[in-house]
Amino acid sequence: MKKYLTVFGLSFQNEFTYRLNFILWRFRNVLRVLMTFFLWNSIFSQNRIAFGYSREQMMAYVFLVLVITAFVSSAPSNDNIGGEIANGDLSNYLTKPISYMKYWLTRDWSSKLLNLLFAFGEISLLYFWLRPQLIINSSPGSVVIGVLLCVSAALIYFLVTKLAVMVAFWIPENTWGLMFSFLVLFEVLSGAIFPLDVLPTLGSKLLQFTPFPYMIYYPIAVMVGKLSPAQGLRILLQSLVWLGVGIWLVNKMWKSGLKTYSATGR
């Protein structure tokens, strides 16, 4: 496993060489929190309770989104795998005793660590600037389950996005289209902008049958105590089912992709 530790370290170093890129990416995340913060702030200036949330609960949700998205959706693999398949750079890895998917998973986690460090810094600054009142109504049990849900969320995110980028095996000229559509859906349907239970009941019921709420909404809902530890445990099990399905699909697609791979680009 030492090889993956080395990949982790190198990847961490590599992130620093794209300083501007990184800062802009963080800026985008902070901006989103600010937007949702002021949006909810104005909604709560009229009402005590909106969509079943108190101001303090909603603010806690908004702030946690910053941390959870930093963890779940920081994934350099999304920007690289499609291109590497399309232009044949994948060959560099295929001839070596290393797993391509584990390699990129490692690089993603390296990026997650860096982003998480920054997200904690940002959230402290925002907290002292905006002075929101937060209610986090959770027991130690729900925090533990919430953290486990986060790990599962990050892995589900990895798998779903890999399904999108692996389309490059068959359609090399279109590596970004599907990924982009996914990212748009992800923003709206995962709970990164608003908690999903503000949607009409039918909508949030339907969403339960997709992997989206497992990527942002459920981990936060459990952590802030919107859902009980018992409910959280059930959701964790469902999340693991999605994880299993994702691993199975990615493996299948990877194997059949390699059969069509022609190592082009020379």
């Binding site: 090889k3 080395t6 590599n14 060959s91 560099n92 295929l94 791979y261």
Partner: protein, 328 residues
């Protein structure tokens, strides 16, 4: 010596989709696509022994690179049997992968934003090379390629030649027994090409590594390879020693004459085909069997100052083989 690479009736066909030109063609291709089989490799067989240095030559699209890709496990063949070091390449077993390396002149594996030494360390871990062996190999390679002073420079800041040297080190850090080199000298200046060649020769000699090399530069092949395999349109046209090409394919010899006095070009036409005429020098191509006769005739009937009978250039022979014309 035992063979380390055995290829038997290897075929690799690609499904290629044909698009009509223009926008209508693009729209049509959204709904129905015509496919045809491109026969990149079409029934190729050869064996290579340990320590051999073999050159693959052929025009673009001949199937050289595709063959290398099958040998290194990147592609699944359509048909045929391939064994490299006793392994089936496309199963991609780690024990097999630790024993070979594929270097593509137009692909880089180094981390672009970090110094090359970081990529070497990563490869050391990936291939699980013990510390002592890593240090020894790296020292040797760094000395052979004279790159000690640029190991810690960001790869993006290196020149193409320097980068190619680093690519080679990265590919050799696990001391592979087999080396597949695809156009290793492409884009390099003549001095660097020469250095690269010397290095490949030395590596092959020192470690009795088996090397397969493809190149567009005849010089690479002439200088390095005792054995060459000529491929065209997915088929092997020739497999053997370099000088046998001349025996097999050269039907003509070249007479280079320098005249002492003025000679009319038209008078020379009877001797053979005039390839070059620029007074006082002429190059005439004649059939091998009649070469000495033609020379005698020249000496008798023309004011000859100097006369040379030569084999044609190997490049010319190969070009003629590819274009399918008789050497005239």
């Amino acid at each position: 010596m035992s063979s380390v690479i055995a290829v038997n009736k290897l075929k690799k066909y690609y499904k290629v989709h044909q698009k009509e030109p223009g926008l209508t063609g693009s729209i049509k291709s959204l709904f129905s696509r015509k496919y045809y089989d491109a026969k990149a490799v079409d029934g190729v067989s050869f064996d290579i022994d340990e320590g051999e240095l073999v050159g693959f030559i052929g025009p673009n699209g001949a199937g050289k690179t595709t063959t290398l890709k099958v040998l290194s496990g990147l592609l699944y063949p359509t048909f045929g049997h391939v064994s490299v070091l006793g392994y089936t390449p496309w199963e991609r077993k780690p024990e097999f992968q630790k024993q070979f390396s594929l270097v593509m002149g137009q692909k880089n594996q180094l981390w672009w934003d970090l110094p090359a030494i970081e990529s070497f360390i990563l490869n050391k871990e990936i291939y699980e090379v013990p510390d002592a062996q890593y240090k020894k190999t790296l020292d040797e390679l760094v000395e052979l390629l004279e790159v000690a002073d640029i190991l810690k420079v960001q790869v993006r800041k290196l020149s193409l030649g320097q980068r190619m040297k680093m690519e080679l080190i990265a590919a050799l850090i696990h001391s592979p027994r087999i080396l597949f080199l695809d156009e290793p000298t492409i884009g390099l200046d003549v001095v660097m090409q020469k250095k690269m060649r010397d290095f490949i020769k030395e590596y092959n000699r020192r470690y009795t590594a088996t090397v397969i090399l493809t190149s567009h530069y005849m010089d690479d092949v002439k200088e390095l390879c005792k054995r060459i395999i000529i491929i065209d349109k997915g088929k092997i046209l020739f497999d053997g020693a370099l000088d046998e090409i001349i025996k097999k394919f050269a039907t003509h010899k070249l007479l280079t004459v320098v005249f002492g006095k003025k000679v009319e070009e038209s008078d020379l036409a009877a001797i053979g085909q005039i390839k070059e005429f620029e007074f006082p020098k002429a190059v005439i191509s004649v059939k091998r069997s009649t070469a000495s006769l033609a020379a005698a005739e020249l000496l008798q009937n023309f004011p000859v100052a100097d006369l040379n009978i030569e084999e044609p250039q190997i490049e010319d022979i190969i070009r003629e083989v590819f274009t399918g014309r008789d050497l005239a």
